[in-house]
């Protein structure tokens, strides 16, 4: 016998799975909608039965949903769905080693030989149902003599359904043809023929059916009659290592957060160790409490990614990296959800080369860089990372660059056709705020290190502006190259006026 575990409205269930029992039960009784898309246009991706009854349809926008009902809105999280699928598979694996991950929210398992352990199919179904409940699922469970009959029964009938051998065709009969998910063209043909349920499909003469729909038609008919016996496709062990935790009440203290963080990291590392894997990428995401959204800052979250220079599986190191980061970046609002993900890779097996140049211990380097970030901050006020390797950006904005993490793999930088400057400019970082006296809109004197320096000659203005479509990153500046009369002679500097802030800066000195 085969059992099928089918979670109706799977994305909704995946979103509610980690809710505490009573809250989940209450939510299940009310309309719940899963939204997907960019923040400017969220659309309904999935909805539960209550939501559908309230008139909500797939594809509606958030505003339309809000207009037609007071549904609970959740944003779709594919990661959460993957985690839920893994949990569903784990649930099935508790009853049989032969498990098939048929589709998202659908798992089929072979119960052959498990009678002594779990008793009659009814008992097995009841136990599965209970365990699934603990995992947070509300399933349709079907037990049937073959996997496909179990699958279609679970899709078509709510609750637990047991189909004894020999009754497959009769029990499947009332189900709509669409439950078989035939190709669209075949579905259209059957619709034209007036064949709407599996009973009518099963009643067609097989030879005539083959003449018209080929062998695939016959296959569909046999599925409709419950006659297909196929081997299961074993589910590959999960490759996604992700754990998340949503707090009932958003937490504000670091202690509460790192306590959970430590737990999740240890679990992940334990899973990695079980499979002889390590990770070279750790992602930490904090979703912040929704009050910030009211201030117009949608989707506020704190996201950190550590590209580790080599695979590691030491939870302590990972925890240290994350902890140092969280300690230095106090969140402005309470944390609602914590998501930790590691990317599994094979552990490092290579031995250091005899002639390889000495380099710091990789783990130590990472910890050190984390400490550096602790001092400098992860990023400056412009959002540029403070530790890593610089990369010039394709922009007219002078000195625009980003900082990438160190990598052992060297990548060729994109070709930048900007002319190579003929003079070297030593940039001041940060730029020096200054004041400039002007005459006829040209600089006349510049204050540098508390001294007023006369401008002997000035070249400019060189104007540039950009990113006008985004008020946060818009810039507009007017540069001058000036020769200043200094105590030592003549100094050549680049100054600029930030026209949006109406402030002068000294950007650098020319050789």
């Amino acid at each position: 016998m085969f059992a099928c575990l089918f979670a109706p409205d799977f994305p909704v269930q995946a979103a509610l799975r980690l809710e505490p029992g009573p809250a989940r039960a209450a939510l299940q009784q009310s309309p719940v909608v899963i939204l997907e898309g960019p923040a400017s246009l969220l659309r309904v991706f999935a909805a539960n039965e209550n939501a559908r009854q309230a008139g909500i349809e797939i594809g509606m926008t958030r505003l339309q949903v809000e207009a037609c009902s007071r549904a609970t809105l959740r944003k779709r999280s594919p990661a959460q769905e993957d985690a839920a699928q893994s949990a569903l598979l784990d649930c099935a694996r508790a009853f049989s080693p032969r498990v098939e991950s048929t589709a998202p929210g659908t798992v089929v398992l072979d119960l052959t030989g498990t009678e002594k352990l779990f008793g009659l199919p009814q008992n097995a179904a009841a136990k599965i149902f209970l365990l699934a409940g603990e995992f947070g699922f509300d399933l349709n469970i079907a037990i049937a003599p073959n996997p496909d009959t179990a699958l279609y029964t679970a899709r078509g009938f709510a609750g637990v359904t047991i189909i004894p051998s020999g009754e497959e065709a009769k029990r499947l009969g009332p189900l709509l043809v669409a439950v078989l998910s035939p190709p669209l063209e075949v579905l259209e043909i059957l619709e034209c023929w007036g064949i709407r349920n599996l009973q009518s499909l099963g009643a067609l003469p097989p030879v005539a059916l083959v003449e018209r729909l080929g062998q695939s038609g016959l296959h569909l008919q046999r599925l409709a009659r419950g006659e297909i016996h196929r081997p299961l496709v074993p589910a590959a062990p999960a490759t996604d290592f992700i754990e998340s935790f949503e707090f009932d009440d958003p937490v504000e203290t670091l202690e509460s957060l790192v306590f959970i963080l430590n737990r999740l990291l240890h679990q992940l590392c334990a899973r990695l160790a079980c499979r002889s894997l390590a990770t070279n990428e750790l992602r930490l995401k904090l979703e912040l409490a929704s009050w910030q959204k009211m201030a117009g800052r949608q989707d506020e979250s704190y996201d950190r990614l550590w590209k580790l220079p080599f695979p590691m599986q030491d939870a302590k190191v990972l925890f240290r990296l994350a902890y140092l980061d969280l300690e230095d970046n106090t969140q402005s609002s309470p944390v609602k959800k914590l998501i930790v993900q590691v990317v599994p890779v094979k552990p490092r097996l290579s031995q250091s080369g005899l002639f390889a140049p000495p380099s710091p211990e990789a783990e130590q380097l990472e910890i050190t860089l984390a400490r550096v970030r602790g001092v400098t901050g992860a990023a400056d006020q412009n959002g540029i990372a403070c530790a890593g390797s610089p990369q010039v950006l394709d922009s007219h904005k002078p000195d625009s660059f980003s900082v990438r993490p160190f990598s052992t793999v060297t990548t060729k930088d994109a070709d930048h056709s900007a002319p190579v400057p003929v003079l070297a400019l030593r940039m001041f970082r940060p730029v020096l705020e200054t004041s400039v006296e002007t005459m006829d809109q040209k600089p006349r004197a510049v204050s540098l290190r508390k001294k007023r320096l006369r401008v002997l000659a000035a070249s400019g203005p060189w104007r540039s502006s950009g990113h006008w479509w985004n008020a946060a990153s818009a810039w507009k500046r007017e540069e001058w190259d000036v020769a200043l009369q200094t105590a030592d002679g003549v100094g050549f500097y680049r100054i600029y006026l930030d026209r949006l802030r109406k402030q002068w800066f000294v950007e650098g000195v020319l050789d």
Partner: protein, 1078 residues
């Protein structure tokens, strides 16, 4: 030491000014004059961001005396720039940036007419060689051949000098300048300097200055203008993204570095070029050398070849009198004097060639059996009537000849020819090309501009919105004729589910608003052809059109008219094709000949007028719309002239000017006929004291305000498509002054001004109305007398008109025509007539109505059937492989295969069962063998299923209307049928249900929506208020079947339901369509 280091620095960085140096040299500051000689408008598609008018206006505001518009590879914007510059009192220089195959855009300025002709030919040669959608590139030889009369600038960063310097340094730059001097002459090459405050540009400028000094070439300051004001740089950036298929976020340095390419004032330019004052001074010197303007292009309409010993005038004289003898028999004194007057004027104005050329086209049509009729003001001319160009007798109808042609107007007459749309029109167009050569005739262009939908889509792409959002927005950006002032962009965005508070959405909305009306690309006008004596390509550049064999000019019809280019509009009119096909079908089946010129008139066609009076006009030309139907019973047309007024009555001009209702009341005798002033009685008598035609307004202006013919013509132009508020104010003042002088009371003055200004919203000339009324009458006559033939022709020429085929078929059935479904054993591609046993004709639906059935497959099917009838469905599938399995399934579904093979016929599911087998590929062994058919196990279709199959397969049903099957239920719910509504009293509360066949939101209806609901008894008309629309938008826009409750309005045999509630009526999901948004 310090100084020498400072000097080195200055040289290195293109130093502009040392502190302490005076700002301007003495004398220079006194007279700041600068002409902008390098500007691009939005007609450099997807690059320039301002319309030519905006550039001219800003130039004038900033005190720039002259500007040269140099769009890329064309003079697209030149006419508009020329007119705008004239208005702004600045000098408009002509030129273009011409692309060379070796690279670089060469800015060329026109000195004289030779130069202009050379520029046009140079561009045309490249365009026609390179084809559509390819950047046209000229060769250096071509440049040399066409260099006379042109001045060459060295261009900006995409110009030849910059490219040469960049690639190969000073030596290459020197060589290039020497070559240009050789090609254009030393005095005609200017080294161009632009300063947009870029460092790298300055280095290039220094190199250019050095070369100019070395070769003794003048330098010229320009700003390479791409937009009028700095704010428009954002549009230019958005265009850059569209051009490069990037998003703003990823476009990087493809975007502009700053916003400096706007129109800068002479003071700014002088300040910028303070170190090179001669660059500014030279702009004025060069501007003074550019003598050419668009005032006289040297355009000449072609001469018609006449036999030896004849002149064009004598030849036209003979042809006119020949024609007049046929048209007017006998020729009365009035006719004679009118013809002589017209011919004398034509001779005087030298227009005989034009008339003969149009006559030649008419002759070609006649010889080839193509129906043709002139429309527009040509119908005012007795010469046109005599030559057979128009079909309306202007003398009999007392039409104003001056509206067509006047001596003082100095403008070419306008003759539009209506032709059957489709192949026959193309045949005529190709004839004109053939006769005048590829470079002697061309279609006028149509400038496609950004509209709500295209702007929303493209700007969304630029900002990186996903495809789904864009589609949703495009759908919501309505195309109703009426624009609700409250239906703002904000509202549309909110409806699309966009969060207006999102900063990106704010930018998006702003871009969408600003980009509207900017040109996107050029396409060809539907029918306007420009013909030229000699080479048209020396008057305007020509381009290839997408359609093979077609060439278009770079200007649209308004530009052509503004510059005096004469055009003949060869317009495709669906109704002409319907009339032609009807006449053919009548001749073939009824054995009768219908002569359009001699259709029974007035009392001899009482049945026709009675049908029109009842507003039973579905399918009839011009009088089938909701508004027309609502006024027909009140106007009660009894003779042809009533139709002329009817056609002109329902137009925005008369409606907004509140002329429609007074006229209708006077027609019904409910209101006394009065005149705004006794002197206007002769002009307004025929239209019961209410002006309905343009001619009447012009005459009113002439009588009331002593306008001359020329002034009246200026008034007409002011009322035309490019009306200007300023001009209207000016004319109103003039009108009032004249009326005051003539002693008109102020109330009368207000009435007259209201009449005249409301025509700014478009009204018909009487002649045009008469031409259209003729077609309206012909279509009504054919429908009443030959319903089968007319309906078949109408369906065969669809899409056209106001109603979908489903409505046309149901209407014909209600008038007693038997309509039979598609049957592969009987149907042709087109709908056809079949003679029934009772001697009547029935209509057989054609295969063209079967969805997704290609014409080639249908043709192959008919050919195979004519060779030998099909013995079975397998036989059909075997013999006509072009009919795909999908086509076969649709044919079976709609019952078109029911009569194959079996004596008693199949039912549709039998046919589906068999057709699926026939469509299934078999192996090579059984290929070509039709296997035996097995009995079908499938159940017959139910009524609902048959209806659904009919609508999904053909969009209509020849069986009962879907509402027929619900009538009992609807009656129980208290609903009345469409027919019953007419029997109820005004003010009754009614309930109706029906299938929505048309929705209309006219521009003049203040947001009201007119909806037509069809049931099995006829059509019920409903009025939806803006409030109800706001309440039930989705139901009104999307539902196919609706339930409606409201108050009945039944006045003067015009029946409407004023809806108070509208709800969806749940029916089987049928694929019915409505015609919306007219």
């Amino acid at each position: 030491m310090e100084n020498s280091r400072g000097q080195a620095f200055c040289v290195r960085f293109g130093f502009l000014a040392k502190i302490g140096i005076p700002r301007y040299r003495s004398g220079f500051q006194k007279r700041l004059m600068y002409s902008e000689l390098h500007a691009r408008s939005a007609f450099t598609f997807l690059e320039g961001a301002s319309l030519p008018e905006a550039l001219a206006l800003v130039c004038a505001q900033r005190g720039i005396p002259a500007m040269a518009l140099l769009d890329k590879n064309g003079v697209y914007g030149t006419p508009r720039f020329h007119l705008a510059a004239k208005e702004s009192k600045i000098k408009a220089h002509v030129g273009a940036e011409v692309c060379l195959a070796e690279g670089g855009y060469y800015p060329l300025l026109v000195k004289d007419r030779t130069g202009y002709q050379n520029l046009c030919r140079l561009i045309t040669t490249a365009k026609l060689r390179n084809g559509k959608n390819v950047v046209a590139a000229s060769s250096r030889d071509e440049l040399q051949r066409h260099s006379a009369g042109l001045v060459c600038l060295t261009g900006d960063e995409n110009g030849p000098l910059s490219l040469a310097l960049q690639k190969h340094g000073m030596e290459a730059g020197r060589k290039l300048l020497q070559q240009l001097s050789f090609i254009f002459g030393h005095e005609n090459v200017y080294v161009e300097l632009q300063r947009h405050f870029h460092r790298h540009q300055e280095a290039r400028n220094q190199a250019a200055i050095a070369l100019a000094r070395e070769l003794r070439l003048p330098v010229l300051a320009t700003n390479g203008v791409c937009y009028a004001t700095p704010a428009e740089r954002e549009i230019a950036d958005a265009f850059t993204c569209i051009r490069n298929k990037r998003r703003l976020d990823t476009a990087g340095r493809l975007l502009a570095q700053n916003s400096q390419r706007h129109v800068r004032s002479p003071q700014e330019m002088a300040r910028t070029f303070v170190d090179i004052p001669e660059a500014i001074a030279n702009t004025m010197e060069l501007s003074s050398r550019l003598e050419f303007t668009m005032e006289n292009l040297g355009y000449e309409f072609p001469r018609y070849p006449v036999p030896a010993g004849e002149t064009m005038d004598s030849f036209l004289y003979q042809r006119t009198w020949e024609g007049a003898r046929c048209r007017y028999a006998p020729i009365t004194g009035r006719v004679r004097s009118q013809l002589e007057r017209e011919l004398a004027l034509i001779e005087n104005l030298g227009l005989a060639g034009y008339f003969l050329i149009v006559w030649d086209i008419i002759c070609f049509c006649r010889e080839n059996g193509i129906l043709v009729q002139g429309r527009g003001s040509a119908a005012n001319s007795a010469v046109c009537y005599s030559l057979g160009i128009t079909a309306v007798d202007p003398i009999g109808m007392e039409l104003l000849f001056e509206r067509f042609l006047s001596e003082e107007r100095g403008e070419w007459p306008d003759i539009d020819l209506d032709l059957p749309s489709g192949d026959q029109r193309e045949q005529v167009i190709q004839y004109v090309y053939q006769r005048y050569g590829q470079r002697g005739a061309a279609m006028t262009a149509n400038v496609c501009t950004y509209r709500g939908r295209s702007a929303a889509r493209e700007m969304g792409k630029v900002l990186g919105f996903d495809e789904e959002t864009l589609s949703r927005l495009s759908k919501l950006t309505g195309s109703w004729e009426w624009r609700d002032p409250m239906d703002t962009l904000q509202k549309q965005f909110t409806k699309a589910g966009l969060d207006l508070h999102h900063p990106q959405i704010g930018v998006y909305m702003d871009l969408c608003r600003r980009v509207r009306d900017l040109p996107r690309h050029l396409s060809q006008h539907s029918g306007g052809m420009v013909i030229c004596q000699g080479q048209l390509d020396s008057v305007v550049p020509l381009e290839p059109a997408t359609m093979p064999g077609r060439v278009v000019v770079q200007w649209d019809k308004d530009d052509c008219a503004a510059l005096g280019l004469i055009k003949v509009d060869l317009l495709g009119l669906g109704m002409m094709a319907v009339i032609k096909d009807s006449i053919d079908l009548i001749s073939e089946h009824y054995g009768e000949t219908v002569d359009l010129a001699h259709l029974p008139q007035d009392d001899a066609a009482r049945d026709v007028y009675e049908t029109i009076q009842k507003a039973d006009t579905v399918g009839m030309f011009q009088i089938e719309s909701r508004a027309q139907m609502a006024s027909l019973p009140r106007n009660n047309p009894r003779r042809f002239y009533d139709l002329v007024t009817q056609v002109a009555l329902i137009r925005p001009g008369p409606i907004v000017g509140q002329m429609t209702n007074p006229y209708l009341k006077r027609r019904q005798g409910k209101e006394k006929v009065t005149y705004p002033h006794p002197s206007l009685e002769p002009v307004l008598k025929r239209t019961l004291g209410v002006p309905l035609f343009q001619e009447q307004l012009l005459r009113m202006a002439m009588i009331c305000s002593n306008f001359t013919g020329g002034e009246a013509e200026e008034l007409r132009r002011a009322l035309g498509s490019r009306r200007s508020q300023q001009r209207m104010i000016h004319i109103e003042a003039k009108l009032r002054a004249g009326m005051t002088q003539n002693g008109f009371a102020s109330g009368t003055q207000d009435d007259v001004v209201k009449f005249i200004t409301s025509f700014a919203l478009y009204g018909f000339p009487e002649s045009h109305a008469a031409s259209f009324a003729l077609l309206a009458y012909a279509s009504a006559y054919l429908k009443v007398r030959y319903l089968g033939a007319f309906t078949a022709a109408l369906l065969n020429n669809w899409p056209m008109g106001f109603y979908a085929p489903a409505t046309i078929v149901k209407d014909a059935q209600r008038h007693g025509l038997r309509v039979k479904p598609v049957d592969v054993t009987r149907s042709d591609w087109n709908c056809s007539l079949e003679l029934e046993n009772d001697g009547k004709f029935s209509l057989r639906m054609g295969l063209r109505n079967v969805k997704r059935l290609p014409q080639l497959a249908a043709g192959a099917l008919v050919e195979a059937r004519n060779a030998r009838p099909f013995s079975s469905i397998s036989d059909l599938a075997l013999r006509v492989p072009r009919v795909s399995p999908g086509n076969l399934r649709v044919l079976a579904q709609i019952g078109a295969l029911n009569n194959i093979g079996k004596e008693n016929g199949l039912h549709r599911r039998d046919a589906l069962w068999e057709s699926q087998k026939a469509a299934q590929p078999v192996g090579p062994l059984l290929a070509g063998v039709a296997g035996p058919d097995s009995a079908s196990p499938l159940l017959r279709m139910t009524t609902d299923e048959r209806l659904m199959a009919d609508y999904s397969g053909t969009g209509l049903t020849t069986g009962q209307h879907p509402l027929f099957y619900r009538r009992e239920e609807l009656r129980r719910m208290g609903a009345k049928s469409a027919r019953e509504l007419a029997l109820l009293c005004d003010g009754d509360h009614v309930r109706v249900a029906g299938c929505v066949i048309a929705r209309q939101r006219p521009g003049t209806a203040h947001g009201f929506i007119f909806m037509s609901l069809e049931d099995e008894t006829g059509i019920a008309n409903a009025i939806i208020t803006p409030d109800l629309y706001a309440e039930s938008t989705m139901t009104i826009l999307q539902e196919r079947f609706v339930w409606m409750e409201g108050t009945l309005q039944n006045k003067d045999r015009v029946v409407h339901v004023k809806a108070e509630l509208i709800a969806p009526l749940h029916m089987a999901p049928m694929a019915m369509t409505s015609r919306d948004f007219h």
